[in-house]
Amino acid sequence: MPMPRMPSGLRRVVMVGMLLVAVPPARAAADWLITPFIGTAFAGETTFLVLDQGAGRTKLTFGAAVALMSDGFLGVEAEFGHTPGFFQGDDPRTRVVLASRVTTLGGNLVIAVPQSITRESLRPYLVGGLGLLQARSADIIGFVPVVKDLLGLTVGGGAIGMVSERAGVRFDLRHLKAITGEDGPLARPGVSRLSFWRASAGVILRY
């Protein structure tokens, strides 16, 4: 399957990441971890009336996280994620949504296995928090536009692995779900107003 073309926003994130790699790190009891990531959003649900059935499809997602992690078990994280085309269907012959996205900006608490236990191996963590879930969708005639800024809940987990003093990788799986807002017409009971899973892999830059 061909890889999706890298969006310009993602190219900028990668370039900033490469620049940060060039800066030497400073060791401390708490480390700043900057993690640009790329992955997929999947198993999406929405009750918003967007007409295309795209929310449930797997979509490219990317973003970046900045975390302050202690050597112990606690850390905090600010994370930005962006999923272009979130609501769009696959078939251009039947598509009515021209442009759409879901963008998230959240603050999370990270609970990780202390470094004294994991040492140089993978360091598992759980993450959870609140933030902004921004949904946008524009259809051909502007019949059912979606412009929603919602409070979102994030829960998930993953693992961090450092491959050098200043660089590593992060594997992350999290569920993002809107907890405010109103359902659109034709909403089905039991379906989330807006939710999706996100699996991502990121490069960690440690300071």
Binding site: L49, V96, A99, I141, F143, P189
Partner: protein, 342 residues
Amino acid sequence: MRTARTAIATLLALGLLGQAGSAQSLTISLFERYLEAIRVQAGIPAISAAIVQNGQVWDSGFGHKDLEASVRATATTPYPILDLSQTLASTLLLQRCLDAGRLALSDRVRQWLAEYPESEATIGHLLTHTRPSGGFRYDPARYAALSGVVEQCTSDPYAQVLTEEVFDRLGMVDSVPSHDLSEHGALYPSEVRERYAAILGRLAVPYRVDANRRAVRAEYQPRRVDASTGIVSSARDLARFDAALSVGVLASRTALEAAWNTDGARPTGLGWFVQPYNGERLVWHFGLAEGAYSSLVLKVPGRGLTLILLANSDGLSAPYNLANGDVTASLFARLFLRLFVA
């Protein structure tokens, strides 16, 4: 930046739709695309649709009239049209009784049906779903009494009047006056009964759609034909009826003006719902058999426009409380108005 985005979006839309030959075909293409998207979103197995614009008819089918047998819906797929039957009854009453001078709207119903329970109710009250004490309440069972009035006025069975004056006259070849052929079987010769049976054999299968949009084959108890319900027809046949109605073939202009107007105190004309919309008058009706079928007809007389939708689930009508008299509650109506009127 926003202007540029809008321009790009418009170009993309035009590109997606291909080289449309005219603004009208582009509008129809957009309508088809949106209608199909809403149908899928609402979980409706099949919709048959027609649009009549100044006598020109576009029609099509969407989805499957029989999911298990994978039979696609077309514009000629027959459905029970349910309460849309009221618009045909109103037309017959206007044509055969009012225009012929045999009846007045102010006549008490008891003048024509001695056993009718409401002593003060007039023909006009029944046609407008109103009471002598004032106030509107949509009541199909009460409206059904008008078939008896038509029979008294014409001295013929209602189903026969309907067949002769509407179906046969307009060549409505997918229409049957009664879902239950045994009801009026004696009225028709055997070849006509066989034709009606063949039409009923092609009837769209009714489905109940659950919360997860799963369509489950439903039981539907056929309704006896009267002024309120019972007719089986197709979108194409109803487009024929609409075109004939609009040019004054079926009733006089004066009678239609009365049917398609309201005094503002109620949302109904004579056998039709009527409401204002952006400087236009909307004339419409809906049909609903919960968990089985639904229907909608929406006319914009000022634009010579009519939308006809028939479905084999209740999704055209059930979510929108249309008996309250506001068709703009319907997503399907709003789409049509947005594309063709707004």
